[in-house]
C-alpha cells in the first residue's frame, strides 16, 4: 500500500503542479496508526500528507458534497465503493464530471478505524476482531467503476455465498414477527443521523427529516418516529444505495442498516433489473426510481 500511497501522492503533486486541480480529496493519517481519515489537500505541499493504507475505509465521495456549490477543480482518490458514490453524484447532477480527476484504487479490503478506536478506548471488555471490516467482507465491487487513472492491481470481490441470505430469512418471517424484529431493531436508535450524514446517496439539499413545514417525521425517540425515520430514509435509498456500508459501520448502536438496504437492492433488482446503483456511469442515465414518465403504468405519481 506504501507503493499506492506514493503513486497517488505523485499523481496529486503533478496535477497541482500542472494547475489542473485546486484540491485533492483522499485520506490522511491521524495521530495513531488506525486513525486514517478524510483529507483535503489544497496544494502540492499538502500532498505528502495523503495516505492510502489498511484503514482508508472512509467513503471519500461523501466529501464531494462539501464542494458541490464551489467551482474548484477536484482530484479525488477512490476505492471501488467510493467510485460508485461518484457515479451517484454525477447521476444526481450534484457535481460535473469535468470538474473531477478520478484516481481509482482497486481495494484489497479495509479494517475499520472505528472498531480499532473502540478497542483502543477501553469501554468494552471484549476486543473486536482486527480483520477486514464487515462491509469489506461483503464487498462486490472492489475495483473502481469510474476513473481517469488506475493505481494498483485489480482485486477480486470478497463477498461469499448468497448476498441476500439474511434478507430471505427475514422475508420468511410472518408479518407480525417481522414487525417485531424491526421494531426491536430500531428501538435502540438515538437519531444521531450519522447514517444519513455519512451517506453519499443522501444528497438532498434539505432532508425531509429537517423539513419543518410540514414536519413529516416527529423528533420523538419512540418506536413510531424511529421506524418512520428509518423506513423513509431507506425507501429513499431504493435504487440509490451503492452498498458502501458506511451507514452501518458508523452507527453507534449497531443497527443492521445494510439489511434494509440489501432488501431494497434485491427488490429493485427484481422489479426493474438493470445494473445496481452506481455500477456504471452513462451520461444522462438515471436510477430506476428517479425517472418520471407520463405514460407510467402506476398512477400514484
Amino acid at each position: 500500500m506504501k507503493e499506492i500511497t506514493n503513486k497517488v501522492q505523485a499523481i496529486a503533486a503533478k496535477l497541482f503542479e500542472e494547475g489542473k486541480i485546486d484540491v485533492f480529496l483522499a485520506w490522511e493519517k491521524g495521530e495513531l496508526n488506525f486513525k486514517t481519515k478524510s483529507y483535503v489537500a489544497r496544494n502540492a505541499l499538502d500532498v505528502k500528507n495523503i495516505v492510502f493504507d489498511e484503514y482508508s475505509i472512509y467513503n471519500v465521495s461523501n466529501s464531494l458534497l462539501k464542494f458541490r456549490d464551489s467551482h474548484e477543480r477536484i482530484g479525488i482518490a477512490v476505492k471501488g465503493c467510493d467510485s460508485r458514490g461518484i457515479v451517484r453524484l454525477l447521476e444526481d447532477l450534484q457535481i460535473k464530471r469535468d470538474r473531477l480527476y478520478i484516481v481509482g484504487i482497486p481495494c484489497p479490503g479495509m479494517k475499520d478505524p472505528l472498531a480499532a478506536a473502540r478497542n483502543h478506548g477501553g469501554f468494552s471488555k471484549k476486543q473486536e476482531e482486527d480483520g477486514l471490516a464487515k462491509k469489506c467482507l461483503d464487498c462486490i465491487q472492489p475495483n473502481p467503476v469510474i476513473y481517469d487513472e488506475l493505481v494498483g492491481p485489480e482485486q477480486s470481490p470478497r463477498q461469499q455465498g448468497d448476498r441476500f441470505a439474511r434478507v430471505k430469512e427475514i422475508e420468511q418471517m410472518s408479518a407480525d414477527e417481522r414487525y417485531k424484529f424491526w421494531e426491536d431493531t430500531f428501538s435502540t436508535c438515538i437519531r444521531c443521523y450519522a447514517c444519513r450524514q455519512v451517506c453519499v446517496a443522501c444528497d438532498c439539499r434539505t432532508c425531509i427529516f429537517d423539513e419543518m413545514k410540514p414536519q413529516w417525521v416527529g423528533r420523538e425517540n419512540s418506536s413510531t418516529d424511529n421506524m418512520m425515520y428509518h423506513l423513509v430514509k431507506h425507501s429513499h435509498m431504493a435504487g440509490r444505495c451503492i452498498e458502501c456500508g458506511e451507514c452501518e459501520r458508523v452507527c453507534p448502536v449497531n443497527i443492521p442498516l445494510m439489511l434494509l438496504n440489501r432488501k431494497l437492492i434485491k427488490d429493485v433488482g427484481t422489479l426493474f433489473g438493470g445494473p445496481e446503483a452506481g455500477m456504471q456511469y452513462v451520461e444522462g442515465s438515471k436510477p430506476p426510481l428517479s425517472v418520471y414518465r407520463e405514460n407510467d403504468p402506476d398512477s400514484f405519481l
Binding site: G30, E31, K35, K37, S38, Y39, V40, Y58, N62, K66, P113, L114, A117, R118, H120, G121, G122, F123, S124, K125, T188, I190, R191, C192, Y193, A194, R196, Q197, V198, D210, M212, Q215, G218, R219, E220, N221, S222, E246, R249, V250, P252, V253, N254
Partner: protein, 338 residues
C-alpha cells in the same frame, strides 16, 4: 470503612431496586449504556462497573432523550392542559464515573440556576441519587483531570464507590447518600480494604487559558481546517454526558396529544434555522465551531467551568476522527494575528 462485597453486589442492586429505578452501566445486546437493573438479563447482559465506562452516558436518567411535558386537548376553539408530567420518582445512577457525574452537575447549573428552574428537570433531579465509581486508571482517551474533574473525588456524588478488588468501599457523601445506604445497611460490612493504585493519565491535555484565548479566535482560520472532515452528524452530542440542548415539539392524535422535549444537536442545520428561513449557523463550519466554543469557552464564561468533562466518548465514536483533545492542542498552538 464500609465495604460492599462484590459477592453481595447483585443483592444490593436488587434491594435498591425495590424502591428506586436503578440505572447501571451495562452491555445490553449491541448497546452499551446505563440501563435499569430490573431490565438486566442474566447470561445475556453484562454488568460494566469494572469497565472504564459505557458509550451512552447516564444523562438519560435526569434528561431523557424524549420527555413528555404536558397533555393537550384541543376541540374547536377550546384548548386545555389537563396534566403536566413532572416526574420525581426515585432513581439511582449506580456507578457513574467522575466525568459523567460532572456532566450532571453542569446540567444542574443550566436547569436550576440563572433565573428559572426547569420544573421537569428539577423533579427528576430531586428524586435522583448519584452513586459514583471512583476512577483509578484512566483510559486511552481520558482527560477529565484537565477539565476540572477529580475522578477520585467526584463532586456532586451522594455516595462514592472505590473498587478494592473483592468489594467496593462505600463512602457516603450526602443526606441522599445516607438514605440509600440505609436501604442496604445489612449488606455493608465494616472492615479495612486496600485501595487501588492511582495510575497516571495517558492523554496530556492543557486546557489552561484556552477559554480566554478562544475569545479572540472566533474568526481564526483554524476552524476551516479543523471542521473539514466533520459531517455534522449528532453522535458526539448524543453520547456526550454534558450536552443538554433540547427541542420542544408536539404530538397530536386528532384532538389529543402532548408536548414533549427531545435532545437536539447544534450539529444539525435545522437547529438554528429561523422561521423565515435565515440561519446564523447555516454552514457546517459554523456549527462545528459553535459546538467547541460552547464546550470550551461560552459555558466557562457563563457558568465558570467547561462543558467538556474529558470522558473521551466523542473521540472514540466520531466517524471522521474529530478529536476535542487535538482541538484544544490546536487552540493552544494557534498564532493570533490581530
Amino acid at each position: 470503612m464500609k465495604v460492599l462485597s462484590k459477592a453481595k453486589l447483585e443483592a444490593a442492586l436488587n434491594k435498591l431496586s425495590d424502591r428506586n429505578e436503578v440505572f447501571v452501566p451495562m452491555q445490553k445486546g449491541q448497546q452499551s449504556g446505563y440501563f435499569t437493573w430490573k431490565s438486566f438479563e442474566n447470561g445475556q447482559d453484562e454488568l460494566m462497573l469494572d469497565a472504564l465506562n459505557v458509550y451512552q452516558s447516564p444523562k438519560n436518567a435526569v434528561l431523557p432523550q424524549t420527555e413528555k411535558m404536558y397533555s393537550i386537548k384541543s376541540q374547536g376553539v377550546e384548548v386545555n392542559i389537563d396534566q403536566t408530567y413532572e416526574d420525581a420518582h426515585p432513581t439511582i445512577i449506580f456507578g457513574a464515573r467522575g466525568c459523567d457525574v460532572k456532566g450532571i452537575i453542569a446540567m444542574d447549573d443550566v436547569f436550576l440556576t440563572r433565573g428559572y428552574e426547569d420544573s421537569f428537570y428539577k423533579a427528576r433531579r430531586s428524586g435522583n441519587t448519584i452513586i459514583a465509581n471512583a476512577c483509578y486508571e484512566p483510559g486511552a482517551n481520558c482527560f477529565c483531570n484537565a477539565m476540572e474533574v477529580n475522578s477520585l473525588e467526584p463532586v456532586g456524588a451522594d455516595v462514592i464507590l472505590r473498587d478494592a478488588g473483592d468489594g467496593y468501599v462505600w463512602e457516603v457523601k450526602s443526606d441522599k447518600g445516607e438514605a440509600v445506604t440505609a436501604l442496604i445497611a445489612d449488606l455493608l460490612e465494616e472492615k479495612e480494604a486496600k485501595l487501588p493504585e492511582v495510575k497516571p493519565f495517558i492523554q496530556k491535555v492543557d486546557y489552561s487559558g484556552v477559554a480566554e484565548k478562544l475569545k479572540s479566535m472566533f474568526d481564526h482560520p483554524l476552524w476551516d481546517k479543523l471542521s473539514q472532515p466533520c459531517i455534522n452528524c449528532g453522535m458526539c452530542t448524543y453520547v456526550c454526558p454534558s450536552c443538554y440542548c433540547f427541542d420542544i415539539q408536539v404530538k397530536m392524535w386528532g384532538e389529543e396529544g402532548y408536548r414533549f422535549r427531545a435532545w437536539d444537536s447544534c450539529m444539525f442545520e435545522e437547529y438554528s434555522r429561523e422561521a423565515g428561513g435565515g440561519n446564523p449557523r447555516g454552514a457546517s463550519k459554523e456549527r462545528f465551531r459553535q459546538r467547541f466554543l460552547h464546550k470550551l469557552e461560552f459555558f466557562k464564561e457563563r457558568y465558570g467551568t467547561p462543558l467538556c468533562t474529558g470522558c473521551g466518548r466523542c473521540i472514540i465514536v466520531c466517524p471522521t476522527d474529530i478529536n476535542i483533545v487535538r482541538i484544544i492542542d490546536a487552540v493552544k498552538e494557534a498564532e493570533i494575528n490581530a
